[in-house]
C-alpha cells in the first residue's frame, strides 16, 4: 500500500482535530513537566521522553477503545496517556507514590493501566511484540472478535528476534494486531539506519505478508486516517496490519542525554516540523481562532500542573508493599515489620 495523500487537506474536521490537538498537548505538557520535575530532583531515576512523537499514539488511540489492549515500550508515556490513563495516576507513578497506577512499583519504564487496556510499557526492547501477539491469541482462543491489540515499538526493535517471531506469529495465526513502528531515527544514541539491513520496517512486515501503511508520523491527520484504515481492516477480521510512522525524537534518548551525537542544527530544523505546531497551524488555516487553540494548550498545561502538585504530596507506598504481588505460592515473608524478607 502507499502513503495516503500528504497534500494539505481542504476539508478539515476542526472539531476532531481540536480533540487530537488537545491529546497531543496533554502528552507534551506531561513530559515537559516530568522532565523538569526530574531535573529538580523531585523523583529518582530517568525517563525516556517522546517529545515530538505525540501524533503517533494520539492518532492511533483515537481508533481504540478500552477493550482494545495496548502494549508499549520504555518510551511509553504518550501511549499510556493516549489510551486513557490519567496524568495524576501516571505522575504519581513516576514519583513512586502509592497512588501511582502501579502503586509505585513500576515507574516510568513499567507503567501500565489495565483499567484502560494499557497492558504495560516494557524495559526490554521488542519484548512487547510477543506479548501483543499473545494478547491477540487469547482473543482467538476465547472466540472474541472485533477487538484489536495495538503494539508500539521503535525502529531499533526491528533488529531483535521478537520482531520476526512476533510478526510471523501474528500472520500465521491471523491475529488482530496493529503493529506500530515509531521510526524516530535513533536507537538510543545510534542512527538506526546505519545498523539496519534491507529496506526497513515496512518492507520487513510486507515480506511476512502483513499489509502496511507508511505515514508522516508528525502529521496527526495522516496518522489518524491511516489508523482508521488499518484498525478497520483488523476489526473486520482481516488479520494483522503494520503502520510505519516517520517521526523524530526531539529530545535525547533519556532525559539525561544531551544528544551531542546529533549534528548541530538538526533538532532545531526538526522542531519546525513539530506535530503540535503543525496541527495548530492547520487549525488556524481552517479558520479556528487563535484564542481557542491557546485555550486547549493552556487547559492541558493546567491539568498537568495539578497532577504534579498531587504527586508531590502523595504518600509513599508502605514498606510492606515491596513484598506484595510477587506470587501466591512461596511469597517472600518479611522477617521484621516493614523490613527485609527472605
Amino acid at each position: 500500500m502507499t502513503e495516503p495523500d500528504a497534500a494539505p487537506r481542504r476539508n478539515v474536521d476542526t472539531e476532531r482535530l481540536m480533540g487530537l490537538l488537545s491529546e497531543m498537548a496533554r502528552i507534551r505538557a506531561f513530559e515537559e513537566t516530568a522532565v523538569a520535575a526530574l531535573e529538580s530532583g523531585l523523583y529518582p531515576g530517568f525517563i525516556h521522553p517522546s517529545i515530538g512523537q505525540e501524533a503517533v499514539p494520539v492518532g492511533v488511540c483515537a481508533h481504540l477503545t478500552e477493550a482494545d489492549p495496548l502494549l508499549s515500550t520504555h518510551r511509553g508515556h504518550g501511549h499510556t496517556m493516549a489510551k486513557g490513563a490519567t496524568p495524576t495516576g501516571m505522575m504519581c507513578e513516576l514519583f513512586g507514590r502509592a497512588s501511582g497506577v502501579c502503586g509505585g512499583k513500576g515507574g516510568s519504564m513499567h507503567i501500565a493501566d489495565f483499567r484502560v487496556g494499557m497492558l504495560g510499557a516494557n524495559g526490554v526492547v521488542g519484548a512487547n511484540i510477543l506479548i501483543a501477539a499473545g494478547a491477540a491469541h487469547a482473543l482467538k482462543v476465547k472466540g472474541e472478535t472485533g477487538r484489536v491489540v495495538a503494539c508500539f515499538f521503535g525502529d531499533g526493535a526491528i533488529n531483535r528476534g521478537p520482531f520476526l517471531e512476533g510478526l510471523n506469529w501474528a500472520r500465521t495465526f491471523d491475529l488482530p494486531v496493529l503493529f506500530v513502528c515509531e521510526e524516530n531515527g535513533f536507537a538510543a544514541t545510534t542512527r538506526t539506519g546505519v545498523l539496519t539491513a534491507g529496506d526497513g520496517p515496512a518492507a520487513r512486515a510486507e515480506s511476512l505478508g502483513i499489509p502496511s501503511l507508511t505515514v508522516d508520523g508528525n502529521d496527526i491527520q495522516a496518522v489518524d486516517e491511516a489508523a482508521a484504515v488499518l484498525v478497520g481492516a483488523i476489526r473486520r477480521g482481516e488479520g494483522p496490519r503494520f503502520l510505519l510512522a516517520h517521526t523524530y525524537r526531539l529530545t535525547g534518548h533519556t532525559s539525561m542525554d544531551a544528544a551531542g551525537y546529533r549534528p548541530e542544527g538538526e533538532a532545531e530544523e526538526r522542531w519546525t516540523r513539530d506535530p503540535i505546531s503543525r496541527c495548530a497551524e492547520r487549525l488556524r488555516q481552517a479558520g479556528v481562532a487563535e484564542t481557542a487553540i491557546a485555550a486547549v494548550i493552556r487547559s492541558a498545561e493546567e491539568e498537568i500542573e495539578a497532577a504534579l502538585e498531587t504527586a508531590k504530596d502523595a504518600p509513599w507506598p508502605a514498606p510492606e508493599a515491596a513484598f506484595t504481588d510477587v506470587q501466591d505460592l512461596g511469597a517472600p515473608v518479611p522477617t521484621r515489620p516493614g523490613g527485609l524478607a527472605r
Partner: protein
C-alpha cells in the same frame, strides 16, 4: 487405582483440565503430532488445533505470546520440547512472566505453565540434557515443580494449571515410560496451595535423610533398599516442588535422623541442593550428626560417548556410596 505411565498421567491431566476449563490451551512445536514424547497424543483430535496449537520454532514467541495470553485471562500450557530450548525464551520467562504482576502493582496475573523436559537421556549430549531448575528457583515470581511419579505427573500438572503464578514444570525425559499406580480419588481437583509446595516421604527411615527430586527419587529409593540390607535405615524425601519447597517436612526429618544428603542430577555447584543444605545447616546446626552433603553432577557439560556420559550421570550406586560414607 489405575496403572499408567508418567506420560499417560500427564496427558490425561492436561486433557481433564482442558475439558474442565475452556480457557486452558496448549502451545508448542509439533503438538499436533502428539508432542515429541507422545505426551499430547490424540489431544488435537479431541480439542482441535485452536486449543492444541502447533507453533513455529519460535521459543521466545511461544513463551512471550503465552505471557500476553495469560494476562488476557487464558491459561496457556507452554511446551518447550526440552529444557535446553527454553533458554531461547529466558527474557520472556524471567523478565516478563515473573515480573508482570509485581511491576504493574498487582494489575496483572500470569497463570501460565512452562513444561520443560529435563535431564540426561542416552547420547543426547551437551545441548539436550540439562537440568537447570536452580536457575528458576532463583527468580522471584516463579513456582518450580518437578514430578517424579505418574501420580505426581498428573496431580502436579493439574495444580500447576490451576495456579495463578507462572509455573516452571520440569518433567524428566527418562521418566515418560515409568509405570506406576495412580490413585483415582485425587483425580478430582487438586488445589494448587494444598498440592504445590508439599514434599512426599517416599520411604521412611531413621538414620539419614535423602532429599531429592525427579529421576533421582527412584535411584535414591534403590540406594535405600541396598542400604537396608546393610542394616541402615534411610528416609527418602521426594521434594516435588522446588519453589516453594517444603522446609517443614525436610527439617522435621533431618532433626530426627541427624544426617542430610541432597541428591540431584544437576551440576552440584550452585545447584538447588546448596540452598537446601544452607537452610538445614542454619536451622539445625549443633543437632546434626554429620556435615550436610550434596551429591550432584560434576561441573562439566554432558558428553556424548556412553563411557563419558557415565562419568556425569548419577546412579543408585553413587547415592549408595555417598550415603554409606555419611553413615560411617
Amino acid at each position: 487405582m489405575t496403572v499408567m505411565t508418567y506420560r499417560e498421567a500427564a496427558r490425561r491431566a492436561l486433557a481433564e483440565e482442558m475439558a474442565r476449563d475452556a480457557t486452558v490451551w496448549a502451545l508448542g512445536e509439533d503438538l499436533g503430532r502428539g508432542g515429541i514424547f507422545g505426551q499430547y497424543a490424540d489431544l488435537t483430535a479431541r480439542f482441535g488445533p485452536d486449543r492444541i496449537v502447533d507453533t513455529p520454532i519460535s521459543e521466545a514467541a511461544i513463551v512471550g505470546a503465552a505471557v500476553g495470553a495469560a494476562m488476557m485471562g487464558t491459561r496457556p500450557v507452554v511446551e518447550m520440547r526440552i529444557a535446553d530450548f527454553a533458554l531461547c525464551a529466558i527474557d520472556e520467562l524471567v523478565n516478563q512472566a515473573a515480573k508482570a504482576r509485581y511491576m504493574f502493582g498487582g494489575q496483572a496475573r500470569v497463570p501460565l505453565v512452562v513444561r520443560e523436559p529435563i535431564g540426561v537421556w542416552p547420547a543426547l549430549a551437551a545441548q539436550h540434557s540439562q537440568s537447570l531448575e536452580a536457575w528458576y528457583t532463583h527468580i522471584p515470581g516463579l513456582v518450580v515443580v518437578a514430578p517424579a511419579t505418574p501420580a505426581d505427573a498428573r496431580d502436579l500438572l493439574k495444580a500447576a494449571i490451576r495456579c495463578d503464578d507462572p509455573v516452571v514444570h520440569l518433567e524428566h525425559k527418562m521418566l515418560w515410560g515409568l509405570e506406576d499406580e495412580v490413585p483415582d480419588a485425587t483425580n478430582a481437583a487438586p488445589d494448587p496451595a494444598a498440592t504445590l509446595g508439599r514434599a512426599r516421604i517416599a520411604r521412611p527411615g531413621d538414620d539419614l535423610t535423602v532429599v531429592t527430586w525427579s529421576r533421582l527419587v527412584h535411584d535414591s529409593l534403590a540406594a535405600a533398599e541396598i542400604l537396608r540390607a546393610e542394616g541402615r535405615s534411610v528416609e527418602v524425601i521426594d521434594l516435588r516442588t522446588l519453589w516453594p519447597w517444603d522446609q517443614d517436612t525436610v527439617l522435621a526429618s533431618v532433626e530426627r535422623t541427624g544426617r542430610l544428603l541432597v541428591v540431584h542430577e544437576a551440576v552440584t555447584v550452585s545447584g538447588f541442593g546448596a540452598e537446601i543444605a544452607a537452610v538445614v545447616s542454619e536451622a539445625l546446626f549443633g543437632r546434626l550428626k554429620a556435615p550436610v552433603r550434596r551429591l550432584g553432577a560434576p561441573r562439566a557439560p554432558v558428553p556424548y560417548a556412553p563411557p563419558l556420559e557415565e562419568q556425569v550421570r548419577l546412579t543408585a550406586a553413587d547415592v549408595t556410596a555417598a550415603a554409606r560414607a555419611m553413615l560411617g
